[in-house]
């Protein structure tokens, strides 16, 4: 079991944003998380990436408990994520954004930087090459040298995925990656996600509203509503689950 959440609870004042949720993500799968707006999906993401501390419950990566670790510790244990509201480093270049995923785990330290040592130069070259590689994967090689804030919206999302990939994660957590993308872009997204799983051997945990993306992509899907897990299973099972249909339809007027 690569990622496991046990009895996770997150309370904001009187509101239970995540209510006693258990889940498991297996190595090598694409695991989907869906649910109506306000179901607690992003909060769950924030819990597993350490952005927020759970009120109760525990989280395990590779059997190791990581429940109250700060986000950078969790990132170093193999989870990397993107954000629903894009959080790129806007003033930095496309390639710099990607490289940042690698620097903290490289041998580029303060002293090597100041001394411009051989290690620094070697690491710098290695990082740069890998960054170009990743940009190739997410299809942004033609944007090298651009400031992140000047990219079109869809490409900003792809860049965020690239940046997350750069940390060499075991699990890539994607928060609505297709939001705001056109047909062509989301096709490219699907292709990229499959590539990442198949060729790079990275497990994917994805929140998505776009049903087409979810159904064609995921091996298993978990459904949340009002902070609770209401269903889990293969896409075909989910599609026919009455609870899920009610959760979605009941919300629409």
């Amino acid at each position: 079991m690569l990622l496991k959440g046990e009895k996770l609870i997150k309370r904001f004042g009187g509101l239970l944003a995540v209510d006693n949720v258990d889940f498991e993500v297996k190595k090598g799968e694409i695991f989907g998380l869906i649910g109506p707006n306000g179901a607690g999906k992003t909060t769950l993401f924030n819990l597993i990436t350490g952005v927020m501390e759970p009120t109760a419950g525990s989280i395990y990566i590779d059997e190791e408990e990581v429940t109250k670790l700060p986000p950078y510790e969790i990132a170093n244990r193999g989870i990397s994520r993107t954000f629903q509201e894009i959080k790129l480093f806007k003033a930095l270049n496309v390639e710099e954004n990607v490289m940042l995923g690698m620097v903290s785990n490289s041998k580029i330290g303060l002293l090597n930087t100041i001394l411009h040592s051989g290690t620094y130069k070697r690491e710098k070259r290695r990082i740069e090459e890998r960054a170009y590689n990743i940009l190739e994967i997410v299809g942004l090689k033609h944007r090298i040298g651009w400031q992140a804030k000047n990219l079109p919206y869809g490409e900003q999302r792809m860049l965020e995925i690239g940046r997350a990939l750069a940390t060499s994660p075991k699990i890539l957590a994607l928060d609505e990656p297709a939001a705001g993308m056109n047909e062509q872009e989301s096709d490219k997204l699907l292709e990229t996600i499959n590539y990442i799983r198949d060729k790079m051997d990275i497990t994917i945990f994805i929140i998505e509203h776009d049903m087409k993306v979810i159904m064609s992509l995921c091996d298993r899907i978990m459904v949340m509503d009002f902070g609770q897990k209401i269903a889990e299973g293969k896409p075909s099972e989910i599609q026919n689950n009455p609870l899920v249909i009610e959760a979605y339809l009941g919300r629409e007027e």
């Binding site: 350490g50 170093n76 620097v103 490289s106 303060l110 411009h116």
Partner: protein, 320 residues
């Protein structure tokens, strides 16, 4: 992939270096050299504050305190304990860096204006300690009679001697601070400024980086202070006021927040302007005030903005 060729900034740095070495041979006016010496000290201060406030984005209003701590440590060591120049100079830097760590660790979790006002308060506390701890600092009497620096048998006495000493330290500071700023390490600092949360989720321990930037900035300000103490041979708390912190900040902002070449230019302008307008007597600060306002209205992100500086650092000549 990468264009071959020679970095433009290296060429310019080389030209400036040669000019810097030859300068005292071309200009013999002691007054001019003194002003240039002070300007060099301000460049170190402004670059060090730029690392903290510009690159890392921690709005810091108490930089004169680090400057003062460095100056006082060096002065007290040399006057009271007769410690040699090199030791006192380095101690000034390390002492200021240590104070930076002391203040940085607990306050770094404060955000935005709360951090700002804390650094302001800290700066005032340091000045008031210098002013009131008479038994150690001699309080408002200041410390006169700081001896000439002496190392490896060289005695620094004249303005020109000081010029080369300060110029050497300046080059050292420029190399270190430019390397930090325009490197992957600098990218991390900028990333923390742009979006701390995102940086954390990439596995970056942002607290360590922020504190480190704070300490490095404090350290260089301390070195500048130690140089100032030896250079002026007399120091008093009057030189390390809130107004001085603001003055250094103005250099950084006018030059371009986050831009090291900007910090240098800003320091040059604001250190020279009051001297250039000295003939105006009581009207001079009116002009300096207007100049400050004018520059910032003309170029909102400073004379050499951060992006301009980054482009400049990547510019190459020749080759393809």
């Amino acid at each position: 992939m990468e264009k071959r060729g020679f970095y433009l900034y290296k060429l310019i740095a080389l030209i400036l270096l040669v000019l810097g070495i030859l300068f005292p041979l071309l200009v013999s006016d002691q007054y001019v050299i003194r002003i240039i010496n002070m300007t060099f000290i301000y460049i170190i201060l402004s670059m060090s504050l730029n690392l903290i406030t510009g690159v890392t984005g921690q709005f810091h209003l108490g930089h004169a305190a680090f400057y003062g701590v460095g100056a006082y440590i060096a002065a007290l060591l040399s006057v009271k304990l007769h410690v040699s120049f090199l030791f006192a100079f380095i101690a000034g830097g390390i002492g200021a860096g240590f104070i930076g760590l002391l203040i940085g660790l607990p306050t770094i979790r404060l955000r935005d204006i709360y951090l700002t006002v804390t650094t302001l308060g800290f700066g005032e506390i340091v000045r008031l300690i210098l002013l009131n701890w008479v038994s150690v600092t001699r309080g408002p009497m200041g410390i006169p009679g700081i001896p000439y620096p002496e190392f490896f048998g060289i005695k620094i006495m004249s303005q020109i001697d000081f010029y080369y000493l300060i110029f050497f330290v300046l080059i050292l500071s420029v190399v270190v601070l430019f390397r930090i700023t325009y490197s992957r390490y600098g990218d991390i600092l900028r990333a923390i400024r742009e979006n701390e949360l995102a940086a954390k989720t990439l596995g970056i321990n942002t607290t360590i980086y922020k504190v480190t930037a704070f300490v490095i900035g404090a350290l260089f300000a301390g070195l500048a202070g130690a140089l100032f103490a030896y250079f002026s041979a007399y120091i008093s708390p009057d030189s390390f006021t809130f107004a001085e912190s603001i003055n250094i900040l103005a250099m950084v902002v006018i030059g371009g927040l986050g831009s090291m070449p900007g910090a240098i230019l800003g320091a040059v302008i604001l250190a020279l302007a009051p001297e250039a307008f000295r003939f105006l007597a009581e009207y001079r600060m009116v002009v300096v005030g207007l100049l400050m306002l004018g520059v910032i209205l003309w170029r909102h992100s400073g004379l050499i903005g951060e992006q301009t500086a980054i482009k400049f650092m990547n510019m190459k000549i020749g080759g393809k």
